[in-house]
């Protein structure tokens, strides 16, 4: 019974928190730009509005791709530990991670693919070159940040000698945060966070002024609402993973969300002030600094393990 509650609870938390973070993002950026900004629940209003509008469709894959993207990211959340569950004790015990026994970090990495892939397939079916260009950029950007990201993940897995994410979190709560045991990996991961989230300076995938929002060019109505929700879940997912890998997860849900909020604020500071880069420069950056740092950390980890 508690398992079923957990299964419902963790995607719900991701959706609610993700949507609120999206709203918070607009607020923070507005304040940095010395504007008042929309209310924090603005994305909720947007989703309701879009659900009430009738949209167009370019084919069944055009509609289904978005559904797959959202489903993929919501399933991924179930594999990620969201902190201990002391706060919601009557409903859940131990760590809030309903599917931890069905897959570890490797599964999470692969499941995180489903979102971009679903969106790419749907956008491809829209027969609009802006969408195709956006997808091409998205896939290139993914290749760019995945190289350092994989190095980071491998260093962490080698350091803790496990592929289970819950175990990595548990080990950190005993022996100190990952940010202290594998510091260079943590720095590298933070450097690629904007790229993974698709925010400035790496917002070249949607780039509204250049390629008409890229993959989203043809979407509207309910499909766009689902894309919005997918974006929110993805935002939650990436930051939650960072907290789990380097900041020791959370003793309970509240501390976990607090850590997420701090990481999110830091990313938003970068988002608010930097301009967009070209895709070539994004690739060069990702393969130079974050990848270099992560590689160094991995070499150190391997040597210290063998020595």
């Amino acid at each position: 019974m508690t398992r079923i509650i957990q299964l419902v609870l963790s995607p719900l938390i991701a959706l609610v928190v993700g949507v609120l973070l999206l709203g918070l993002s607009r607020k923070i950026i507005a304040r940095i730009h010395r504007r008042y900004g929309p209310p924090i629940y603005q994305p909720v209003i947007d989703v309701i509005r879009m659900m009430s509008q009738r949209s167009i469709s370019h084919g069944s894959l055009f509609d289904l791709g978005v559904v797959f993207a959202l489903a993929g990211s919501l399933v991924t959340v179930m594999f990620i530990p969201l902190g201990g569950t002391q706060a919601c004790q009557p409903f859940a015990h131990g760590v809030l991670c309903p599917l931890s026994s069905s897959g570890g970090l490797l599964v999470v990495m692969y499941l995180m693919l489903l979102g971009p892939l679903g969106l790419a397939l749907g956008a491809g079916d829209s027969a609009n070159p802006n969408a195709s260009i956006g997808v091409s950029r998205k896939l290139l950007l993914a290749l760019a940040y995945e190289v350092p990201f994989l190095l980071v993940i491998l260093a962490v897995m080698s350091h803790y000698e496990t592929i289970s994410l819950t175990e990595i979190v548990a080990r950190q709560q005993q022996a100190g945060w990952g940010a202290l045991s594998v510091p260079l990996s943590a720095v590298a991961a933070f450097l690629i966070l904007p790229a993974m989230l698709g925010v400035r300076p790496f917002d070249l995938v949607s780039a509204p002024q250049e390629i008409a929002s890229g993959p989203m060019a043809e979407y509207g109505g309910r499909s766009l609402a689902l894309i919005k929700l997918y974006g929110a879940t993805h935002l939650f997912l990436v930051i939650a993973l960072f907290v789990d890998l380097f900041l020791g997860g959370g003793v309970n849900l509240a501390t976990f969300l607090l850590k997420m909020l701090i990481v999110f604020m830091a990313v938003e500071m970068i988002n608010a002030v930097l301009p967009r880069v070209k895709i070539e420069d994004a690739i060069k950056f990702c393969w130079k600094w974050p990848a270099g740092l992560a590689l160094l950390q991995m070499a150190i980890t391997v040597l210290s393990k063998s020595g």
Binding site: L7, P11, M51, S52, R54, I56, S57, H58, G59, L61, V67, F68, L70, A71, L74, V75, M78, L99, S100, S102, G103, L106, V107, M109, Y110, L111, L113, L114, L117, L121, G124, D125, A127, N128, P129, N130, S132, V135, S136, L139, L140, A142, L143, E146, L150, L154, A155, S158, I163, S164, A212, E218, G221, R222, L226, I279, E280, I283, M298, V302
Partner: protein, 617 residues
């Protein structure tokens, strides 16, 4: 049914289909399909049998032996399955083309020879069947003539080199042990010491490496795969190159054995470690070359080389999980690469031979079934969860990480992320985007072409959700090769190997999908619009020309294109050119003038007399 019966059926089937084709084309087609399906059934019922018997005693003083064991059965069922699907696909593909009889004969012969290879119990039969396979494959690769003939020639020259190396290894083994029966060799070689096993394995590695296109022995493959008829490309990429993999597993674990293998090579550089690193290079470079291809089949060919890298990497690690991953990936790659080649073949067939990725597009509207199957195949190739490719790649990563090879794991993982790019490019440029006007009334592929695609797609999803079915067979094979058997549950692995439960994953995904679809149902249904009715910043979108395909990954292409030429191929070609020059020079001594030849004879005699008087002879 014994191994002998299976082989007789296979070879007789090939011969008879030629004979029948002389009387009636329809009869031959039915017969070819019956034989292929019969072979699958015959092999399926021999599951779990283990037998070894002499079928030709005392051939040149050697006993020729056939045997059936778990490893042979696994490869035999894969070969017969993919062979059968490609024969079914061929029905429409070659109908009306020239030399149909010859085509079916050669196709069935290749399949029969591959069955012979895996069922051989001694290395001489192995070699004979290997040669039949190589030559029959040459006939099919150059079936289309023209550029195909060059591709075939390249293939056959490299094959011959590989065969020579293999023959050398055979002679070496025979000279030492006086037998070529695999089980006897495995007994006797245990006492071998020093460099002997290394030289034997190096010679075999050259032969097998050329066949399975391990870098730097891969250069025949991109040409051969893209020029061969599509159903045969499926066989070529799906199973023929896997014979090299079978050879590696047989020699490394079946003959030399795990214990000796781990000692082969210098103390600081083991044979299997080198194989691992070659595997890693074979993953990385071809993946990035595949991204730049504009020919659908060439893209898939480079991708095949990359996937072979995964298998070699996993074989080289020499652990039970690694070998299980390698065998599973061999099966998976056979299925999804056959599917992708057949899907490209179906498009090629309907569009009149177009496989240029810049001239297609939007075909999802005309060929939805082909697209759906190709999508499943592509997802399997990437290794998306809930496809079989995920489980085999998971096994490989897991092994590499827990055995402490993070750098090799990095190569494997980056290869996968590269695969996403080329799979998307393939699917997008062919099936998505705008449909060109000339294909507006294209019909879907005939059922005999869709059926093999659907079977492959079904297998990929089935084994992705219930990986325990193939893993129960594979776990047993790993046990017979001197490793600890791998125990898998029907839906993944228990906590001791690592958390993985694909059925839970599938259930969670299905549940979430249902909820989202229900939520989506609240809103109004969207209005279908035509492909021309799209956003173009206020301008009218030009019909049929509004499609982004050319240089799809342009920024990356500009960054890496300069480095990603096939250096190895260029080196071989220049070496071949130089050799040709040398031989041309040597040819000049044949002047055709009798006086010159007399001079050669006199010169030789003078030298001999001189040598004799000087006391050299």
């Amino acid at each position: 049914m014994s191994a002998q019966g299976i082989l007789i059926t296979a070879f007789a089937g090939a011969g008879l289909s030629y004979a029948l084709g002389l009387t009636s084309a329809r009869l031959r087609e039915v017969f070819a399909i019956v034989v292929s399906v019969l072979l699958v059934c015959l092999i399926a019922i021999t599951h779990g049998q283990g037998a070894e018997h002499v079928y030709y005693p005392d051939f040149l003083g050697l006993d020729l032996v056939l045997r059936m064991d778990a490893l042979a059965w696994f490869f035999a069922i894969t070969v017969s399955m993919v062979g059968c699907l490609s024969v079914i696909f061929s029905l429409h593909y070659v109908r009306g083309k020239e030399k149909e009889n010859f085509y079916y004969f050669a196709l069935l012969l290749v399949n029969a020879a591959m069955l012979g290879i895996v069922l051989s119990g001694d290395l001489l039969s192995f070699f004979i069947f290997w040669e039949i396979m190589s030559w029959a494959a040459f006939l099919l690769i150059s079936y289309k003539r023209g550029r195909a003939l060059d591709a075939g020639l390249k293939y056959v020259i490299m094959s011959i080199l590989g065969s020579c190396a293999m023959l050398l290894a055979l002679l070496y083994l025979y000279a030492n042990y006086n037998t070529l029966v695999i089980s006897d060799l495995a007994q006797q070689i245990r006492s071998a010491a020093g460099g002997f096993p290394l030289w034997v394995m190096l010679a075999f590695a050259l032969g097998f490496g050329i066949k399975c296109a391990l870098i730097p022995l891969h250069t025949w493959l991109p040409d051969a795969h893209s020029e061969a008829p599509s159903p045969f490309s499926a066989v070529l990429s799906g199973i023929l190159i896997k014979m090299g993999i079978y050879g590696f597993i047989l020699v490394m674990y079946g003959v030399v054995g795990l214990k000796l293998l781990l000692e082969v090579g210098a103390p600081w550089l083991h044979f299997h470690t080198v194989l691992c690193w070659l595997g890693a290079i074979t993953i990385l470079i071809p993946t990035f070359i595949a991204l730049l291809q504009d020919d659908a089949k060439r893209l898939l060919a480079w991708s095949s080389i990359g996937q072979i890298g995964y298998i070699m990497l996993a074989i080289g690690v020499a652990t039970s999980l690694g070998l299980a991953g390698a065998l599973f990936h061999t099966l998976n790659h056979a299925v999804f690469k056959a599917l992708l080649f057949l899907a490209v073949g179906a498009v090629e067939y309907k569009t009149g031979g177009v496989r240029d990725l810049n001239r297609l597009g939007g075909l999802i509207r005309r060929m939805p079934v082909t697209f759906a199957c190709a999508l499943i195949g592509g997802l399997g190739l990437i290794g998306v969860p809930l496809t079989s490719g995920f489980v085999s790649k998971w096994l490989i990563y897991k092994t590499l990480i827990t055995e402490g090879h993070p750098f090799l794991a990095l190569a494997a993982l980056v290869g996968t992320w590269g695969a996403i790019l080329y799979v998307y490019k393939l699917l997008h440029n062919m099936f998505l985007g705008q449909l060109p006007e000339k294909y507006a009334n294209l019909e879907a592929a005939p059922f005999s072409m869709q059926l093999p695609l659907m079977i492959c797609g079904f297998i990929i999803v089935l084994f992705g959700i219930l990986p325990g079915i193939p893993l129960s067979v594979i776990g047993g094979i790993v046990g017979t090769l001197g490793f600890e058997p791998v125990t898998a549950t029907l839906t993944g692995f228990g906590p001791q190997i690592g958390p993985l439960n694909t059925l839970n994953l599938c259930a969670a995904f299905a549940g979430v999908l249902l909820v989202i679809v229900a939520f989506r149902g609240i809103a109004a249904r969207p209005k279908p619009v035509s492909q021309d009715d799209s956003y173009a910043a206020g301008a009218a979108a030009p019909a049929g020309k509004y499609h982004h395909t050319v240089r799809f990954y342009d920024p990356l292409e500009r960054m890496t294109g300069g480095y990603l030429r096939d250096w190895v191929d260029q080196f071989y070609l220049s070496a071949a050119g130089k050799a040709k020059g040398v031989f041309n020079g040597v040819r000049r001594i044949y002047t055709g003038d009798v006086r010159t030849y007399v001079m050669y004879i006199v010169a030789l005699l003078t030298f001999l007399i001189f040598a004799h008087t000087a006391g050299w002879l």
